[in-house]
């Protein structure tokens, strides 16, 4: 399984930022089984990084690897949408399919 490279852009320590970080960490733990690198960027501290990536909304999650590059915006509270947005097929489904065979 290829390692996922993720970046999460947030605005300061707001409740919404915290929700997004929690949701993402939970998802990474459950669905990516530790096969990921995650960096969290605070746009208030590093606005130029937000400029470079042309980020408008926060929180924004960017998946750099594996290609293609994907973006998800919002506090990531809808897990299915996040998985869909990142092109991640949940392992639970994989095992389910294998089991069906």
């Amino acid at each position: 399984m290829q390692k996922y490279q993720l970046r999460l852009y947030v605005t300061g320590q707001t409740p919404r930022s915290k929700i997004a970080i929690n949701n993402l960490q939970l998802l990474c733990k459950n669905e990516l089984k530790g096969q990921y690198e995650l960096s969290i960027i605070d746009v208030l501290e590093r606005p130029q990084l937000a400029e470079d990536e042309k980020i408008i909304a926060t929180p924004t999650l960017i998946k750099d690897l594996p290609p293609p590059l994907k973006r998800v915006i919002g506090d990531l509270s809808n897990k299915e949408k996040v998985l869909l947005g990142l092109d991640i097929i949940p392992p639970s489904e994989l095992t389910h399919e294998e089991g069906a065979k």
């Binding site: 852009y9 949701n23 919002g74």
Partner: protein
């Protein structure tokens, strides 16, 4: 009292009585193609060029590269300004490769952080955001978008920035803007219109409201010039405070001078009205000849004839335009009225007046211009030209062609007769199987004048005014008829004691 921030946009600072409200956001709303983006860019460009005020441009629609490319034609070198740290883009335009998936709540915190960052980076005083409608197409959760844009507007105000936000509208006369954006930037609203009237485009700008600070009301025409951008024509904002002198100048014709009580006044506008071939252009030629003889600088706008035609005809009346032009005291500009819109004609005329600084200006003819304009557009043009001429202390000489051969008036006269100081009528008189020419001074403000209707002839020396048509009545109404001499004597004796 809210201070105003001079924009440097020609005419706009006049109708807004000093510019945009300082430290506030102003909404500029208009339909597609109403020059919103040009206005937004020009606001920043004028700040950089004229006032050393740097700007930030937030774009939701076009990419920064496209904007820089599109605006270079106006002489605004955005790329250079960017490298000099005078201009910064915040690129929020849609990225072609991806449509982000939305999962849960979000805000525009990143965008706000980027705007604040850019403002600090270039120490900006001005911010333009173009356009709000595009945000709503990028982000479909309109409730969130509205609150977030409101936050940005509040933040700009807190930073003390004078900001301009553009918004889309779907009709020229309808809601202020789509998506109800006016609700969160409701303090100041400007509307740009690009309406179609009689197959012609007419651009106008209206300041709908400036909260807590005065401005001119109503629609003002504007045009977009290739090398300048938006130019507003502040017609009704122009003040009627021109000087008027009692210095007389020669009309170029001695007999006409006598009829006018010693010549035209120097700062007056004279309108000559007559049917085609009646001698209007001849009078223009004489008017210019009179100026040249007095060592004055003359300017002629010809909208009916080509230079060659004009030169040849004038030679036939003993006036050598070619020689006058070579000597430098005359400038003749020939152009078909159809070439430009009315607003552009007006601005072109103003520029030439400013450059050439003439003592006399003739326009031959106003009716040719009227052909290509709407009634309102033409009226504004005439008021504009008259105002420029009067402010420059220039003598103006306009001609107008009447539609009918005998008698009658033209609409041109109806529009401008109150503005002109003198009106001279030229008429054909049909008598005994012959077409003769008549001239009368109908009006001459501030002076006595000859009230007779006189006959005139044209030869190789120009115009010769002769005797009055004593025994003919109905010349001006177009139905001349002779009256026997005995009857004339009886009528003229009626009021004697």
């Amino acid at each position: 009292m809210i201070k105003k921030h001079m924009t440097g946009i020609h005419g706009f600072d006049l109708i807004s009585e000093g510019g945009l409200p300082e430290g506030r956001t102003t909404l500029v709303s208009g339909t597609a193609g109403s020059a919103k983006t040009v206005f937004a860019v020009q606001f920043l460009a004028r700040g950089i060029i004229e006032r050393q005020e740097n700007g930030v441009f937030v774009t939701f629609e076009e990419s920064p590269v496209d904007i820089a490319d599109n605006m270079i034609g106006f002489g605004w070198d955005i790329a250079t300004w960017e490298s000099e740290g005078k201009w910064a883009f915040v690129d929020a335009s849609p990225q072609p490769d991806e449509v982000p998936v939305v999962s849960g709540e979000y805000d525009f915190g990143a965008l706000l952080a980027r705007i604040e960052h850019a403002v600090k980076k270039v120490n900006a005083k001005r911010v333009s955001v173009d356009s709000l409608a595009a945000v709503f197409t990028q982000f479909t959760e309109s409730g969130i978008v509205r609150t977030e844009l409101f936050r940005i507007a509040v933040a700009l105000k807190r930073m003390g920035i004078t900001a301009l936000l553009t918004a889309e509208r779907t009709e020229e006369y309808g809601d202020i803007a789509r998506y109800g954006v006016e609700e969160f930037v409701a303090d100041n609203v400007i509307i740009l219109r690009n309406s179609l009237a009689e197959e012609r485009r007419r651009r106008t700008i209206e300041i709908l409201k400036f909260r807590g600070t005065p401005h001119q009301k109503g629609e003002f025409p504007f045009t977009v010039l290739p090398d300048e951008g938006l130019v507003v024509m502040p017609l009704s904002a122009m003040e009627l405070k021109q000087k008027s002198s009692d210095i007389r100048i020669s009309s170029g014709n001695e007999e006409l001078d006598k009829m006018c009580g010693g010549g035209f006044f120097r700062d007056s506008i004279v309108l000559v009205s007559g049917a085609t071939g009646n001698g209007k252009t001849l009078m223009v030629a004489e008017f210019i000849k009179g100026g040249i003889q007095n060592n004055e600088r003359c300017l002629l706008f010809a909208f009916e004839e080509s230079r060659e035609q004009l030169f040849r005809n004038a030679k036939g009346w003993g006036v050598d335009f070619e020689e006058m032009e070579t000597k430098g005291n005359l400038k003749i500009l020939c152009m078909y009225p159809e070439v430009l819109g009315m607003e552009d004609h007006l601005i072109r005329i103003k520029r030439i007046l400013d450059e050439y600084k003439p003592n006399r200006v003739a326009i031959d003819s106003l009716s040719a211009l009227e052909r290509v304009s709407t009634g309102k557009g033409f009226r504004e043009f005439v008021i504009g030209v008259t105002s420029f001429i009067k402010h420059g202390e220039i003598a103006g000489f306009f001609t107008s062609t009447t539609p009918s051969l005998m008698g009658g008036t033209s609409v041109t006269e109806a529009h401008i007769s109150t503005i002109t100081d003198s009106i001279i009528l030229l008429r054909y008189v049909e008598m005994m199987g012959e077409m003769r020419r008549a001239l009368t001074v109908l009006k001459m403000r501030g002076s006595m004048h000859d009230k007779q209707i006189k006959e005139f002839n044209i030869d190789h020396n120009g115009m010769h005014i002769g005797k009055a048509f004593r025994n003919v009545v109905g010349i001006l109404s177009g139905h001349p008829s002779s009256t026997p001499p005995e009857e004339m004597d009886r009528i003229s004796g009626l009021f004697k004691e």
